[in-house]
Structures are given as C-alpha cells and as structure tokens.
Amino acid sequence: MSLTLIFGLYVFFLAAFTGYQVISKVPHLLHTPLMAFTNAISGISLVGSLLAAGGHYGTLSTVLGAVAVLAATINVVGGFLITDRMLRMFKKKGGTR
C-alpha cells in the first residue's frame, strides 16, 4: 500500500464521520433541500473535468472532458439555485406571504 492511499483513506473516513454527524442533524423538513445541496457540491468533480477538457490531449479526451464539465456545471449552478429557491419558501408561522 502506498502512503498516498493511507492518507486518502484517513481523509475519506474522517470526512465520512464528520458528514455523518452533521447530516444526521438535518431535520426531515429539509431533506429535499439537503439532496439538492449535496447534488450541487458533487459538482466538485469539476476539479477533475476542467483539467480533462483543457488539457493537451486528443480530441476524444477533450470532448469527453467538456461533456463532463457541462454535466458538472449544470449540477453546480442548478443545484445551488434550486436549494436556495426551496429554502426561501420555508417560513415559520407569522412569516409574510
């Protein structure tokens, strides 16, 4: 096993544990926004796809990379917008219509 893998596993499990703690506190009320939110941050795959689309690679790789950028961007932009749109609607009693 390489040290890189070990470090990666540390990061993965600590993040998973943190995620578990934080996410189990999200009430049922907000589960749909939660899904839209995690959709948006899963667009972080841009970190990989931007390099693929802009790299000095062959046409096939570039096109595949660009499609990946496209799909991830739809998720990031759409995901954040939709999460916020939903959250704006949640009001307590006495909130203005």
Partner: protein, 471 residues
C-alpha cells in the same frame, strides 16, 4: 516535499473549500440558517474551481486551451440556471434523479479520460483501482438515475419489472465487474478490461433499478445519491485530490444516511436495500389479489357530505401523499386550511417519511404553498394525536395510512410504521378512483366504518370543500 508558493495557495484554496462545504452542511441543519449554508458552499465551490484553474495553468501547465472549458461552463450555467429557476416543485424528484445522472456521467467521463491519457502498464495499483471503481460507479449512477427518472416521469412502467434469476444474474454481473477491476490491478494495460468495466456499469445501472417499484423510489434516489458521491470519492483517490475525496464522502454518506432513514421508515432491512432486491416479490402477488376486492364496500361520500363533516370539525390533521403532488393540490390544501382556521378549527399536517417520491417531498410542496413549517409534524410526534382529532384528511396518500401494515402479517408492507389516520373520529380519504394505489396493495382503511371516501381530482375536490365552507 515542499510546495511552490502557487501550489501552496492552490492547496489552501482546496482546504478552504472543504471547510466551507462542511460548514454549509452544518447550517443546513436548521431552516433559520440554511440559506447561509448554501452561500458558504457556493463560495467554497468558486474557491475550488479557481484553485483548479490556477493549478492547471500555473502549477502543472496541463491546461493549454480554454475554448472547450469556456463553452462547457457557459452552456452548463445556462442549462443549470434554467433548471434551477423554472422546474416546478412537484417535479423535484425527477430533477434530483436527473442531476444524479449528470453527476454520474461527469465522474465516469473523467475516469475514462484519465485512463485514455494516463492509463497503461505503468498505472499504479491505487490509480487503476480507483479509476476502475470510479468508472463503474459513475456509469451505474448515470444509467440507474436515468431509469429512476424514466420511472418517475412515466416513460418506463412504475411497476417492478422482474424475471427469474434476476438477483443471481445481477450478482454475477457485480462479481464480474469487481473481478475485472481486480484483473486491472495486475494488468493495468488491459484496456479491454477497463472498457468492459464501464460497459458493465452502464448495464448494471439499468438492471438494478428495473425491479424497483415507484413507491420505493425514495430509497433508490438516496442510494443513487450515495453512489454518485462514492464515485466522486474514487476520483479523488485516482487524482490524489483531497477536496474530491471529502465531497465524495459527504455526498456518499448523506445518501447513505437518508437511504437508511427511508428504509427504516418502510420497515425494510438495510441489506435488502443495498442489494436493491426489494419491491419485487410480494407486490406481484398483491396486484393479482387486488383484482377481486372482497368484504364490505367503501363508504363513498359526496363533496357536500364531506364538507359538512369538515364544517363541524374542531381539529383536522392533513395527511398528504404522492397524489397531492400529482394533482398539484398543495395550494388548494393551504386555502382549505385557511378557511378551516378562520372558523376556529385547529389544522396540522402529518408527514410520513416516505410520503411522495423522495425524502422531504411533501415538506417542500407545502412550503411552496406557504404552509408555515411549524404546522408540519413528523410521524412519531403526531401519531398519538389522531385519536383526539375530529377529521384526518388523507390527500392522495395510500400505503402510509394502510392499517394492514399493523395488522396483516401477509401484507407486503407489514411492519411499516404508518400514520394512524384510521383512529381519527372521521377519516376523509381523497382519491382519484377506487383502484388500488401505486404499489397495488388493497387498503382496508377505505372500508372502515369511520372512513368516507371522496373520489375525483384532489385539487378540484379540495377547492369545492373550501367554497362550501365559505358559504
């Protein structure tokens, strides 16, 4: 290993992004702070993208051309904005399924490019394993989510599609995929095996979602969310990028936790959920049995009769279900609640965790209709109050109020916690027709003596109630 100044800056941007994502998720735990959480995550995303571009240009020099990046970013933002602003709330499960498909596609394609450009006999064990898993999970999420989308949209039948040996053949395909990834570890240059893994992923996505019925969609959507996250985490391992690993883990675990909650709310074991084998066997039988209803006939009332019951009520609990989403009745429900409240009636809403087609579906629809969220109650909070309530108004819900879950061990939903709508003094059930629900299970609530059914489109019926109350 000392990093250059620029690379240090890039890594710090990634670190900041990771922290912002976690803080954003934490803020999402409360409706008061949730919007701030979105803002934090947005800043995090900008930081991560800026870091990546800086890395590609100034650190490694990998990025040499911009035209494809810019075009994809622009078109993606335009489509994303369109979807973000105009998709109706009732279509939220479809949009979530679709975005899981995009997520899976993006990750899968990054894996393919990775192998195309850096693959070959020299690829390290870690890289080839991670890339293999990434492509398999990405492809599976892509087609699986498209299938879920098709089922929700009605392009594909919502009923479970089963055939003999389904689980065995799916198991073999999974084993085959893992076997090929194992082979790649020893022969990283075996390109055929790599592309076979991708192809198997595509096939598995279709086959694993095929046997799952529409009513089980909440669990499936959560699982696909989880797979998309794990695929992103695998990408992080392949590229050695921590922010990807962290986001993937957060996303993966979020889906996993929600899936666990959903399966618990449906009384299904977690192994059952993980292997996607549910919703297949019992429902076929139930559909067949549903053909000839026996026993007492349901008590079908007119709109006027039901409105009289509501006029006399001092307390009402509304039980919304998928039918409310289908007939877009949430605004009508809110108007009725207003009318009831103005005559001094107490109105609350009981939300079953799996009502609708995704976690929190009903909450979002009612929020859209301006129902204050402190009137929405979870099952365990409100269930004991039904007995002291005059009217339980069931709007397009079916399985989540079926008493068979408590009393009939042979029912496919036996053991599932249900809302005790049947213990209210009167239970008004709004339903399109007397046909069994989506899951094809007979509901004995409909023939109880304290139940009155009002048939027709829920939105129309409720508007008529409101009009009658205002007379």
């Amino acid at each position: 290993m000392t990093l250059s100044t620029t690379e240090t800056f890039v890594q710090l941007l990634y670190l900041a992004a990771s922290i912002l994502f976690i803080l954003g998720l934490r803020d999402l735990g409360d409706a008061q702070t949730a919007r701030r959480g979105v803002l934090l995550a947005e800043v995090g995303m900008v930081a991560a993208v800026a870091g990546t571009l800086l890395y590609g240009v100034a650190v490694t020099g990998v990025i040499v051309r911009w035209e494809w990046i810019l075009v994809a970013l622009l078109i993606g933002s335009a489509i994303g904005t369109g979807m973000g602003l105009w998709i109706p709330m009732t279509k939220m499960p479809e949009r979530i399924a679709l975005s899981h498909a995009f997520g899976g596609l993006a990750v899968g394609l990054v894996g393919v490019v990775e192998y195309l450009e850096h693959g070959g006999p020299k690829m390290s064990t870690l890289q080839v394993t991670a890339t293999g898993l990434e492509v398999a999970l990405g492809a599976l999420t892509f087609t699986g989510s498209l299938m879920a989308f098709g089922k929700l949209q009605g392009f594909i039948t919502g009923r479970p599609v089963t055939y003999p040996g389904q689980n065995a053949s799916n198991g073999l395909l999974i084993a085959g995929t893992l076997g090929l990834i194992g082979l790649l570890v020893y022969q990283p240059g075996a390109a055929w095996a790599f592309y076979a893994v991708a192809a198997l992923g595509v096939l598995l996505g279709v086959l694993l979602v095929l046997p799952i019925g529409g009513a089980d969609m909440p669990v499936v959507i959560c699982l696909l969310n989880s797979y998309a996250g794990l695929a992103a985490a695998a990408t992080g391992f392949a590229l050695g990028n921590n922010v990807l690993i962290i986001c993937g883990a957060l996303d993966g675990f979020s889906g996993f936790i929600l899936g666990m909650m959903m399966s618990k709310a449906m009384n299904r074991s977690f192994t059952n959920v993980l292997f996607g084998a549910f919703g297949a066997e019992p429902e076929g039988k139930a559909v067949a049995a549903g053909a000839a209803p026996t026993g007492p006939a349901p008590n079908v009332g007119s709109v006027e009769e039901a409105a009289e019951v509501l006029r006399a009520a001092r307390s009402v609990i509304v039980v919304p279900g998928y039918g409310m989403a289908v007939s877009q009745a949430q605004h009508a429900v809110r108007d009725l609640a207003n009318a009831l409240q103005s005559q001094g009636c107490d109105v609350r809403y009981a939300i079953h965790p799996v009502a609708g087609r995704m976690p929190g579906h009903m909450n979002v629809l009612l929020a859209e209709a301006n129902v204050p969220y402190d009137q929405l109650f979870d099952l365990e909070v409100i269930n004991d109050d039904f007995g002291a309530t005059d009217v339980a108004l069931v709007v397009g819900a079916n399985d989540v109020v079926n008493p068979a879950a408590r009393s009939n061990p042979s029912s496919p939903i036996y053991g599932m916690p249900i809302l005790a709508a049947d213990s209210a003094k009167t239970c008004l059930v709004l339903k399109r027709s007397l046909n069994p629900g989506f899951a094809g299970i007979e509901n004995e609530l409909f023939v109880r003596s304290n139940t009155m059914m009002v048939l027709g489109d829920a939105k129309k019926t409720i508007s008529q109630f409101t009009a009658a109350l205002k007379e």
